[in-house]
Structures are given as C-alpha cells and as structure tokens.
Subunit: 189 residues, 2 copies
Amino acid sequence: MRTESRKEEIINAAAILFKEKGYSAVTMRDLARAMGIKAASLYNHIQSKQEILSTIIIDLAEEFTSGMNQIANSDQNTIDKLEKIIGLHIDVTLRNADGLASLNNDWMHLEEKNLLYFEKMRRDYEENFRQIVINGVHANEIKPYNIEIIVFSTLSTLRTLYLWYPNQNNIDANILKKDMMSVLLKGVC
Amino acid sequence: MRTESRKEEIINAAAILFKEKGYSAVTMRDLARAMGIKAASLYNHIQSKQEILSTIIIDLAEEFTSGMNQIANSDQNTIDKLEKIIGLHIDVTLRNADGLASLNNDWMHLEEKNLLYFEKMRRDYEENFRQIVINGVHANEIKPYNIEIIVFSTLSTLRTLYLWYPNQNNIDANILKKDMMSVLLKGVC
DNA sequence: TTACAAAACTAACAATTGTTAGTTTTAAAT
DNA sequence: ATTTAAAACTAACAATTGTTAGTTTTGTAA
C-alpha cells in the first residue's frame, strides 16, 4: 500500500478540521496542532492555506466531472445511468467523505480562478444530470413530474451523503446503492 | 405591516452575509458596511456577533420543534403527517431562507449552552420523524425499505430546500408542496 | 564519518479581528 | 427652544490571523 506523503497527510488532516468547523474557522495553528507540529512547519510542505482548500475541492470536482461525463456519454437507458450516478456518489463518499464537506460548504472561499473553474464544473454536472432526467421522461422511463424538483431532490440527497454515511456502521456499499435506487426512484409508498 | 426594528434589520442583513460566506468569514465590519454604518455602531443594537448567530438559529430551530411536535402528536395517518412536515419546511423556507443557511452550516459555532440546546432539538426532531416513518411501515402505508435511508433521503431534501427554492422563480408554494409529496413519496419511475 | 536534503524549530511581521469607551449627531416630544 | 433617547461616530485595545526568514534537528546515502 502506497504510503501517503507528508503533504497528503496535511491535506487529509485539514479536510477533517474543515468538515468540523469550516475553512474560515480553522487556523493554520489548529492544523499544525492536529499534525503535532508548529504552524510555520506546515509551509515546508504546502504553499498556502488556500492551496489546501483548492486541492481538496478541485480534485473531487474533477472526479465527479470525469465520472459524470463517462456516464452521460454512454448508451445505457436512463435508469441504468441514474444507478451509475448514485454509485459514483457513494464511491466518492466512501473514499473521501471529509473532503466532500469542503466541496459542499467551502467552495465559495476558493480564489477567483479556481472558483470559476469549480462553478463551471458544477454547472456542467447539473446540466448533464438534468438532460438525463429529461431524456428519461421523454422515453417514458421517468414520470413527468416537474424536472427541476426531480433534479433537486435527487441531487440534494446524493450531495448530503457525506454527512450521513460515515455515521452508519457497516451498511455495505452495494446494499446502500440498491436501497438508494429504490428510495430515490421507486418511492417509499 | 409591522416595521422591523433596527436589531431585526441587522439580524436579517447578517443572515444574508452568513449565507454567502458562512459565520466565521463574515466580519462585523462586513456587516456594518452592509448596513451603511460603522462596526462599533452595531453594538448599540446587539450584544455580540454570537448573539446574532444564536438568534437566527435558535428561533428557527424552535419553530421546527414546535411545528413537528404538533404534527407528531396529531392523530392523522402517516401520509398526512409527512405532507404536513413537507409543508412546514416549505413555509419556513419561504419565510426565512437566509436564516436556514446558518442553521444548516453554522450551528457548530454556537457557544456551549445554545449548542447543546440546538443539538437536543435536532435530535428530537429527527427522532419524531423516524417514529412517524416506522409507524407508517407498520401500518403498511410505507414500503419496508431501510428506515434510516428513508429518513435521511427525505430530510436531506427538505433541509436543502433553502438553497434551491429561492432560485426558482414563481413556483407557487402549494404546487411545490404537491409535487414534492409526489417525488419524495411516490417515486419518479 | 561526512554530506545533504527533508522537516522541524523560534521569532517575528503586518493585517485583521471582535469589542469597548467616550463623544457627537439626529429626530421626536415637551 | 429645550430635553431626551436613539443611533451614529472616532479612536483605540488586545488577541489572533496567515505567512516569512533564518536556524536547528533528523535521518539516510555515500
């Protein structure tokens, strides 16, 4: 197993702290304390607090972008695509739940350039999702409810997984995927 | 129409700023600038930055608590109760979407006493919700999926309404309630 | 043992933070 | 016109912020 570099250790520790209190409330001295070193020592490994944030968020956003593009460009039916999207969110959540907190709550603290890049990726992701739902309605695979409400309610659940899943002990990822499909698509009553 | 006091104006302005950047990233000078006065002048109306945050969050949490208690103690069937809960979230979101951002993202910055009070209200709210779902399953009104997944996916959507609803121009509240019921309960395919 | 790079340290900085004290302005009631 | 309370102001504070400069320690390869 690949041992993580000191820089990666710092970024992971930062993600945990950012999850607990948000980017702005975490000081470099907090982060240093969590690493067992002094704040100035962090700068042997990272360039700035901002670099930590953008690494966490942009890496995750690119992961979602890449995953979504593959799914959207595939020739599966709507239900299969939605299943793949749910799987994507569950996989990313399992691998990096802490980072997802920053992506969801601290993206607005990215500096200009990365902020624009992030916002474009998020817009594109949502647009891909919306098109899949629209196609599903046209193909009679999805009920003709208000598109925006379907997109919003589904995405809001998937985006919030990071808050919930780490607290559920031993729900197997595959069982979760199956149940999440049922609840999100087939309804509960 | 009741004119709002200067203190209420400050709290409303603060809620908007907290929504945009989070509690920790908003300075008293930011807030003063938004009000068109100097930072020190704010203290003629409020006691502290912390008081602003706790007013925003605790008022909203008590509103949810009171609404949920009425619903949980009523003798309606499960579906009607869920409909009332959805209505509660939509009503609160319509009235104070900005404040809900703080409730969702900045509750951890409450000081000890209010933090414990808030966490208890949130626990009780969730437990009430869970019991309603459990009773619904027993009464065969709700499909016997994993309870935690039903509770999580529904609540995550309702909690995130504040991000989405203000951006939808003129979706009537009653239509939204009806569609949200359909999507959350009857499924989309 | 020496050499060297990685990674820690101490000390300090300029800027920003929430907040206080004391004073002046504004506007309505007498 | 005078009084009074509300609401603004200026000036300053002590603490905390992200970050830099320069130095010392640590561990590994030659």
